[in-house]
Symmetry: C4
Subunit: 192 residues, 4 copies
Amino acid sequence: MEKGRLEAFSDGVFAILITITVLELKAPHGVSLSALASVLPLFLNYVLSFLYLGIYWNNHHHLLKACRRIHGGIMWANLHLLFWLSLFPFVTDWAGENHSAPLPTAIYGAVLFLASVAYFVLQSLIITEQGCDSKLAAAIGADRKGKLSSLLYASAIPVAFFQPWIAQAVYALVALFWLVPDRRLAQALKEA
Amino acid sequence: MEKGRLEAFSDGVFAILITITVLELKAPHGVSLSALASVLPLFLNYVLSFLYLGIYWNNHHHLLKACRRIHGGIMWANLHLLFWLSLFPFVTDWAGENHSAPLPTAIYGAVLFLASVAYFVLQSLIITEQGCDSKLAAAIGADRKGKLSSLLYASAIPVAFFQPWIAQAVYALVALFWLVPDRRLAQALKEA
Amino acid sequence: MEKGRLEAFSDGVFAILITITVLELKAPHGVSLSALASVLPLFLNYVLSFLYLGIYWNNHHHLLKACRRIHGGIMWANLHLLFWLSLFPFVTDWAGENHSAPLPTAIYGAVLFLASVAYFVLQSLIITEQGCDSKLAAAIGADRKGKLSSLLYASAIPVAFFQPWIAQAVYALVALFWLVPDRRLAQALKEA
Amino acid sequence: MEKGRLEAFSDGVFAILITITVLELKAPHGVSLSALASVLPLFLNYVLSFLYLGIYWNNHHHLLKACRRIHGGIMWANLHLLFWLSLFPFVTDWAGENHSAPLPTAIYGAVLFLASVAYFVLQSLIITEQGCDSKLAAAIGADRKGKLSSLLYASAIPVAFFQPWIAQAVYALVALFWLVPDRRLAQALKEA
């Protein structure tokens, strides 16, 4: 498996996902301010999903840059990650349309959680391929940032059934926390 | 015809197909568990189609890697394969929306069958181009795996009219059977 | 302007257009054979549009391969061609939904005609850039095939108002006529 | 961050946006001339958005060509620009469906304004990266064209509430004014 074609395919999927999520943002019925306001929750959810897809794309890029050889396992771990990301348009639409009702908010968190697990699996496979003493392994280290994020998503799921707004705030805060690109990795790889 | 541009175009089509199939997964009306359950058959069909597109992308990649020269016939055989794959969103939606009624299940199988035939034609053209003593020809051999899959899809079509669930199980089993990437090819080409 | 990025962008647009046209093919309401038959006209129109987009992609590829330098004029002529091609999903849907009523059939022909003119303009700009004694100019020659196609589309437009089926037959025949890739060009460039 | 992958991702997003905007152009109900005329405002808005996306793609290409190194800030400034561009299908549809009512026309202008600001930010970051005495800095100069455009979009927003057609005319005129590719940049870079 050539790395270039895997990257190109993944970039295509990222570009499509980041773009079609907005397709769910249907033109409101009516031309009043209140009609515009009615699409606001969906719009905010779109912004959040856009951020998450941008973060994943950025980190995915650094991860694959560090990867030298692609085997079948990495290929399928990558598709597994793309699968959970491909559910973003669906959960963005469902949570946004329903002003953050409990179940859609919880499902949004579940997709975030499963995507973070899939990312972790992909990362582990690439580190194993590289060897434990590789620069990538050193840069990732114990991956506290990644593990904490997964934990926060998982914790937000039950919370969504009682106070959906708290769960939403958790999703937004974790996104802000990742907006800063993974400097450890960028740094370590630059030195390479 | 340059191979690079054919690969890039095919990758684009694969990336779009794998992503837009999920667009058919409309947000359910309502926020209850039963509303979520109502999209489950469509979701499972989406998972299956995602797997099939991932398998085709993976095998297509190995096939083209083995190919040195593209002529008009290969170009059209490739488009012919992409045509049948492009019907996945349509059949996924139709079969999923109707809880696997007989006719949609049979049509799903027909598209799987025709895609597998189109893949076989593309493969044969590339082998002819390479010469029968090529590594690719040796790696594919009698292509029992491919022929058996086509046979299973074809057999599932009449079965769908009596027991749609058996046909669906066949589609799922063949997908699992392909999840393991085509090691023969990967192996043979690595030695090249 | 780098040729590579223009090709990549055009390939992206071609891949999306060829794929989203099928999105208009909505799952029929019902699971009977007659429900399936109701999408048949739209399906046939989809096949025709798929063929046309495949033909344009193939010829576009040969044309750009022959091109050495891209200036602003070529960039905009290329976007102009992509604009008319981007109307394919719209006209395919409109003509297919209405069992080839006169006006939609005529508009389908008008889009085919305008796309062929846009292709001619792009080709002329590239030949001018190359110089009249270039291999491309020699390969295209008087471009009787291209001019005849444009003429046939234009003639089919008024016919569509009287006998839409004749116009449709003309569109299908011209597509078949182009299915054979432009051997003149392929030949001439191979010798280069 | 490798420039190639950023360009490929951006090209993917541009290709998708320019293509899916037309998906909002639904086949009219009916086959009469008046049914066709009913989609005309949406069609004209589509043409305008297509032009704007083509202009942004062209200028984006020149800008990144001039860029040597991508850091995290440039990556996010680029995503920020793509975010505003991704709202084009939404505003095109809303303004077009409502025959240019005041609010949708104003929002269209606001998206144009915010996209132009995002482009300005991206350009400034790239110039800072290059150094103020770079060819790019010299080519852009005081960027009167860019600043004037932003000013015109901003001025058109309040006008849209009184005379939407004037605002629309401003959007169309600025687009025509940019149709000529940025020769300063093309020129300066060619000399490089």
